[in-house]
Amino acid sequence: MTAIAADLPTSYLTEEHTIASWLLTKDHKRIALLFFASITFFFFIGGIGAMLIRLQLLSPYGLLLQPDMYNRMFTMHGIVMVWFFLIPSIPATLGNFLIPLMIGAHDLAFPRLNLGSWYVFNLSGLFLLYTLFVGGVDTGWTFYTPYSTLFANGHVIGAAVAVFVNGFSSIMTGLNFVVTIHRLRAPGMTWMRLPLFVWAIYAVSIVMLLATPVLAMTLALVALERFMGVGVFDPALGGDPLLFQHMFWFYSHPAVYIMILPAMGVASELIACYARRPVFGYRGMAYAIMGIAVISFFVWAHHMFTAGISVYAAVVFSLMTFFVAVPSAIKVFNWTATLHKGRISFDAPMIYGLGFVGLFTIGGLTGLMLATLPVDVHVHDTYFVIAHFHYIMVGGTVSAFFGGLHFWWPKITGRRYPEMWARGAAILTFLGFNLTFFPQFILGYLGMMRRYYAYPPAFQEWNVLSSAGASILAVAYALPLFYLGWSLLWGERASANPWGATGLEWSTSSPPPKENFARTPVVKAAPYQYNPEDGSFVSQDGVAHA
């Protein structure tokens, strides 16, 4: 250990070595790594749930899990993946690590709050593990009433408390980012010079701050109703179950954008760097991010078209959903235009980034199909919906997460990862993902319902294909664990700026020193000043590189 540490330059990793220096750290970079450990754990817990679901669906007769157990399994998969992996994934790890570096700050505004956020996250994780240990929940991740309050025989209150507490972690992290981006930008770092990743994290933080409290209140009402036997959402006692759905989706639809907006930010960084071109329409990209964040609050009832809301409301929400597609499409077109006449290199992060654009496009376009009222009535609660949102959340967000992880890996660890292994994993992810989820579009359109533990034998072929894809995807997601772990010890040393990227985070050493920058940087240039002609670039501190 000391031998390894001896030849490393002093950095945030080698500053102190005690366990307490990690567990009580106020350094945003170390807290990012703590979060990374936590969400990786939950990613594989949720992944086990996914594998069991796909194993079960190999056979139409439900041979592996009993119906009740199957319900608990997909509920666990949903709760873990949504709240314990996807929502914190990019913001709490890459965001935590990069936001101060990208804006030229020495830390986040409230370092203690940042550490607290990690502890609160783990506390909520303990509640969740307890809930799973004593038998789990069978309501689905949506906790729909009156099932969750009156009939469910799982541990709804435990799960609700876990998600409630988890929300505090989201809010603490989001608050820190908003305040930091407002107040701690380095001299010269104007709003229109912010990297798009920072814009994305800013937007996502605002969504977290305004949506999460509503979920907290909703789940508190559900838990109280179940605990005390009162009728907030119980129709027999005057309550309205539809009101629960409104409140739940008021959070949970914006939550989808909590998952995808940071991914969009990562994609912009990757594509500009590996195409060696400035992001096409930077200003439009920034406004599109904010536009998506705002409109995301006015589309929630498109989850309820078949739930009995009025036709007029359904039409309005359908229209609003089409509106949110406009800024999303602007982003896709601008990524594509950024590639045009670029000097493109297919390094692993770029493969993940391009995969993100393609999969997000498919997920987004099928989202428009679902926003169309008559189509939604046909495919509501089928595997078509499952495939659609997995294209966004897994194909989109997880691809971008892995892309970003590889891109900033040299900065975070000071080591290069093995490029060929990484390219293999990136390609395998793309192929495995499509094989898993494209058949589900077809299954859904043919009428296979979600959340059933068995299905008509006619659907078996597509299900076998999907399960085969899931096994490839599992390998693709497990691979980085090994070769990235290997690179920690034996990877080639990384220079400060191995990719020739323009962000401020590349102007400091890899890994950065504890205080990030020796002197507070002065920003003199817009981001993404890449020149595709000769590969040169101007980094944001104004230095021209050949």
Binding site: H106, L209, M217, L224, V230, L237, G238, G239, D240, L243
Partner: protein, 218 residues
């Protein structure tokens, strides 16, 4: 007297003390925005049911103890005044006035909780606690109980916030006693003042939403 110099250097992530102060205030405003959404969701839900079950809610709300609720409005608004005066005292370096005003604010907070507790006892005695001893009087249907559910959830969540506020005020009083604040450094007090005023404002909204309903002239 502890030296106030320790607090005069900004934390490492800030360039100046002024930047640190502004940042702390912005942090509290953002936090208040989340709290608005938290209580907003509850009050919104309450109003939905109030619109649907107007008659039942009106009947049920007639059993609320409006006098106690009104006294609590007066108590909390007064405590907001003493809080602001405390911040002012810190700004002007009047250490003793600062300590006294902070303690008065905390005492008013305790008064609020006392009155609230007494009100809960009265509510219990008039059999209006859902799932404990709720009594369906003549003319009552289940929405009347719904009203009381919201009454307890809303005032309960608010009382939690008051309790947290009192705790923070007591911590600040301890710091004030040790002479930590000066005309150059009192930003924690300003931030706490924002929170306390927000908690008071919530009570004004809850009072208006809950108590006068039963006395409406129809």
């Amino acid at each position: 007297m502890a030296s106030p110099m320790r607090s005069l250097a900004p934390e490492p992530q800030f360039a100046t003390l002024e930047q640190q102060t502004e940042t702390a205030q912005l942090g509290m405003w953002v936090f208040i925005a989340t709290e608005v959404m938290f209580f907003g969701a509850l009050i919104f839900t309450y109003y939905i049911y109030r619109l649907i079950y107007w008659e039942q809610f009106r009947l049920a709300a007639a059993d609320t103890k409006i006098l106690l609720g009104a006294i609590n409005v007066a108590i909390l608004l007064t405590s907001s005044l003493t809080m602001v005066l405390a911040v002012n005292a810190a700004k002007e370096g009047r250490q003793r006035a600062l300590l006294v005003l902070l303690l008065v604010t905390a005492a008013l907070g305790f008064c609020f909780l006392g009155v609230k507790g007494y009100e809960y006892v009265q509510d219990y005695n008039s059999s209006t606690v859902p799932s404990v001893n709720f009594l369906f009087k003549s003319g009552y249907h289940s929405p009347a109980e719904l009203f009381w559910i919201f009454y307890f959830i809303a005032t309960g969540f608010h009382a939690v916030h008051v309790t947290i506020g009192i705790g923070a005020i007591l911590v600040m009083s301890w710091h004030a006693r040790r002479g930590r604040f000066s005309p150059n450094y009192y930003s924690p007090l300003e931030v706490l003042g924002l929170y306390w005023s927000f908690v008071d404002t919530v009570w004004v909204f809850l009072f208006a939403a809950i108590y006068p309903l039963g006395r409406a002239i129809t």
